[in-house]
Amino acid sequence: MHRLPQTNKELTERAGYFEVSGAHLYTVLHEVPNPVARLLLVGPFASERQNTYIPLVRWARYLAARDIEVLRFDYRGIGESTGAFDETTFEDWSQDVRLLSAWFAQRSPAVPLTLHGLALGAVLAGRAFDQGIGDALLLWAPPANANLALRSTLMRWVGLEQIFKFGNNRRSTADYVRELEQGSPLEVEGYQWSTRLWQESFGFSLPETLKSEATAELAYQRPVRITTLGKEAAPLAKGGSMGYDDLKDFTWLYAPHADWIAETASQFTMAGAHAASN
């Protein structure tokens, strides 16, 4: 049996519940004794959680083994968190990011905080960063808005649905979108998408300044890295072909980004020390 590379460090992972209005968020803190940086992992949309869970847990462990403390969590109404998905809004999930960032940034010792968002999480992390949260921003596969994240999930789901359908019984993504837009909720992989959620997703965008690294760094004066993920990054990116039990080695993706996080944190710390000495 082929085994994937493992980290050797004995690491502490603490799962807990974080109380927010009307719900408890499930969190896992990958604790590091003397961290060089902290990273809040802002994950993808509901249905994508199950597909990306293992690569993201491994990413968190990879970082923790390199002295970067990580906090990952489930949005309210999803996964291990409590709350009703049907009643949750993008604004609620934004609030989850803000509240957890604030809690995480207050941990001691004070070290730079990176927000890292994947897919829909990139929109949420980008918007939080735009509001002044975090010292650096890392985006993987950011869509321009939440609707694109929902749409790609829908397309994948429709593809799976069609496996069971023949000829005229096969419905297209456009058919389901029409249904949603006409006011009928749509159940996608156990999650009830409301028309409200769909409509709100169009206006829930990544800030314009985050369309490129150059404009972002200029505007925010804080490090920003934006990475487009190709099919080879499936299941972190959509469209790639995977077997049911493919558990990939993502070291090629983890390594350069871990280096970038450590490097930006080090620059930030040095700049802080320089400013203090002046």
Binding site: E13, A15, S47, I54, G79, Q162, N169, G243
Partner: protein, 335 residues
């Protein structure tokens, strides 16, 4: 951060040298006017295992829903990630499907059952699993005295191929889209049906004989087993696709007369059982089965007929109309 909230508690258990993480759904006290004598001694808990590589919440968080519902009814429910999956420690391997199909998780799932039984002072544990999780549950039950019952959702008794060649996928897609493909598909089924007739009762070459052996061992002892079946590709929940070997019929025959196997066919469910009507049907099925086989002392006289609200199952907007099944990400369907 809190380790526990009103109805749930996060757990870490060291089993066979591996740290496993999971969630306990505490049983509702409102269903019990007094604690059972000797704490939980008379109590049965339900343990949900991962379905293949999915985290313990499962597709659409259906396992969370079921565990909440079971606990609401008075039975403690645990959901644990097996090694290398979800939040648990342990090495993740490629070839996970083969690993599971050969009983790779049997030992640790059995040890976990034993540990939870001891920690919770339980009289036994019902092990529940979906798809590949049901395979692990069955293997574990065969080697575990503390296992008091099994809930198996769409178990399979053959050795599926984890990844089909791309050309085969494309061909299958073309078959499903085109009118000619539909005819070819029916023709293919008939040819397979003919071959099946020639073969008689002989098992297909890709049957998981080791698993079937465990099944025979476990079912024949009279262990209560509840099995849910959802429709597959060109198949109903109760009947396989034309030309496919009828494993359901075969395992019932293997189980023998003493067996206590109950099968629920859910035409409204998809393979994941995560769609609303599907997961509600699973809720109701588990409830009535638990009450029949493991009645709670203080509930025995007050047990009410199964209904979604009585089991904490939320009533969705969906009606119980037949819906075409979905594949979902597990996708062992169509194997």
């Amino acid at each position: 951060m809190q380790q526990a909230i009103e109805k749930r508690e996060l757990m870490e258990v060291e089993v066979l040298g591996v740290r496993l993480r999971g969630t306990l759904h505490r049983p509702a006290q409102s269903h019990s006017s007094r604690p059972p004598a000797g704490g939980n001694q008379e109590r049965i808990a339900v343990l949900f295992l991962n379905s293949l590589a999915l985290p313990r919440a499962a597709t659409g968080d259906s396992a969370v829903y079921w565990a909440d519902a079971v606990a609401e009814r008075g039975y403690p429910a645990y959901r644990f990630d097996l090694p290398g999956l979800g939040d648990s420690d342990g090495e993740t391997t490629t070839g996970l499907l083969d690993f599971i199909n050969s009983g790779g998780y049997a030992e640790i799932a059995a040890a976990l059952t034993k540990e939870l039984s001891a920690r919770g002072h339980l009289s036994g544990v019902v092990i529940a699993g979906h798809c590949a999780g049901s395979v692990s549950a069955l293997y574990a039950a065969a080697g575990c005295r503390q296992c008091s019952g099994l809930v198996l959702m769409d178990p399979y008794f053959h050795l599926p191929v984890a990844k089909r060649p791309r050309t085969r996928e494309l061909f299958s897609d073309w078959v499903r889209r085109s009118a000619v493909g539909k005819i070819l598909s029916h023709l293919y089924d008939r040819v397979r049906q003919f071959r099946l007739l020639l073969r008689g009762d002989a098992l297909p070459s890709n049957a998981n004989t080791a698993l079937l052996k465990r099944w025979k061992h476990v079912a024949a002892t009279g262990l209560p087993i509840l099995m849910f079946k959802a429709p597959g590709i060109k198949a109903t929940a109760s009947k396989p696709r034309i030309g496919e070997f009828d494993y359901l019929k075969h395992v019932l025959k293997l189980a023998g007369r003493r067996s206590r196997v109950q099968i629920k066919t859910l035409e409204v469910a998809d393979h994941s059982f995560a769609n609303r009507v599907g997961r509600e049907a699973v809720c109701l099925g588990i409830e009535s089965w638990l009450l029949t086989n493991f009645p709670l002392e203080d509930l025995a006289t007050t047990a009410v007929p199964a209904s979604p609200s009585s089991f904490g199952c939320k009533q969705g907007n969906s009606t119980m109309t037949l819906r075409p099944p979905s594949n979902r990400d597990c996708a062992l369907e169509g194997r």
